[in-house]
Amino acid sequence: MAGSGTSDVKLLGAWASPYVVRARIALNLKEVQYEFLEEQFGTKSELLLKSNPIYKKIPVLIHDEKPVCESMIIVQYIDDVWINSGPALMPADAYDRALQRFWTVYVDDKFVPSLFGIMRSPTEEAKAEAKEQALASLQLLEEAFGKISKGKPFFGGDTIGYLDIALGSFLGWMKAFEEMNGFKLLDDTKTPLLCAWADNFCNNEVVGAVIPETAKLVELAKVMQARYKSAPPAN
């Protein structure tokens, strides 16, 4: 079932995309050997267009030549396939799983758009509003963390899991926006649990290897702000 040769598993992605980081963290946690095929910013390869004709977006996981699209679907797929390798990314209990999924939908629907709204906002006013929405989302996620983690370091408990990956993959960009704008998104006084969680997450060896450097993201953000007024790096 699980191939161990690098040619069995390929991941189409780009270094800066938090959605791609999600897939990479999952693959690394599960100790899966894979070939990373970097898409060039601003262009889409033949392989990408062929593997994801519907959305034409990264990441795409290609396992034994079969494509899997959408970052959290990829994470679940990795957890389902490499079931005997590395930690389980989803908890065993059905309700705990539902909570992981619910909050992941929340991250994608509410938190991420407000986060990137900070970069994309054309006026200071719009930027301030995006920032407030992002902070409000993080406050809800702080409360959720309190309930879901049950006193452990991650949303997944002792080890990094599905929701950790969903949210944590955005920490690189969060730090970049904090630096560029001179404000804090994660704050010791307002979101102490998430601050501790973020440190634990980024200090993890597997994560550290793939989270993009803040300085490089800041540089990219400036280029993007100058060039585009729309979408973040990728899906």
């Binding site: 519907i54 396992h63 079969k66 899997v68 699209c69 959408e70 679907i73 990829i74 679940q76 797929y77 389902d80 396939v81 059905a94 309700y95 799983r97 539902a98 999924r101 619910f102 939908v105 929340y106 809800l140």
Partner: protein, 232 residues
Amino acid sequence: MVEGEIKLLGTWPSPFAIRVKMVLQQKGLSYEYLEDDLLNKSELLLKHNPIYKKVPVLIHGDRAICESLVILQYIDENWSKTGLHVLPVDPYERAFARFWAIYVDDKLVTSFIGILKATTEEAKAEKIADTHAALELLEGAFKKCSAGKDFFGGDSIGYIDVTLGSCLAWIKATERISGAKLLDEIKVPLLMEWVNRFLATDCAKRTLPDVERVEKYGRDLQVTRWNVVPAK
């Protein structure tokens, strides 16, 4: 598996609530259905879904689960030994099912609701084209995963079947309201056959509202909420 009473908060026209009813029925689970009023949301709804304040919400014992696709997976996993699997067992097929369920909600639902909300002929034509395109892609998906069988789930109703199937009353109502043919046996022949088969199932008959009732409801929404001047 956790025991306990099951309650479903929903509204009668909501495809998102209907698909949960479909799965509860497929699993042979008894539950209490509570009709909510979106213009006057109940205490129970606001308490159990404070974030989105939307239906459906599944209340199981002291647990509340929100978001229809999250609920479907919860039911499938919590009652994994009861009834048939809703999601496939094979990881690749599961990923395929999850992908297309999200596609139905992201692309198809927004397109046909867009037809109803359109205030100009151009906007309406665009949304009709989007709906046709989405249905054609779903035709392709059906061809791939049904492997010649009756449903997206193979021999039995599965995840994509209920996600798409729960929208059928609205799709037909939209055809009547807009005058546009959406389910076209020439453009999407396999899907049309699936539609007819699905509508003939007990699952569909017991959960889908009458198209006439949805049509009236849709026309009311156009006038009262979406500022659309009725065409006929």
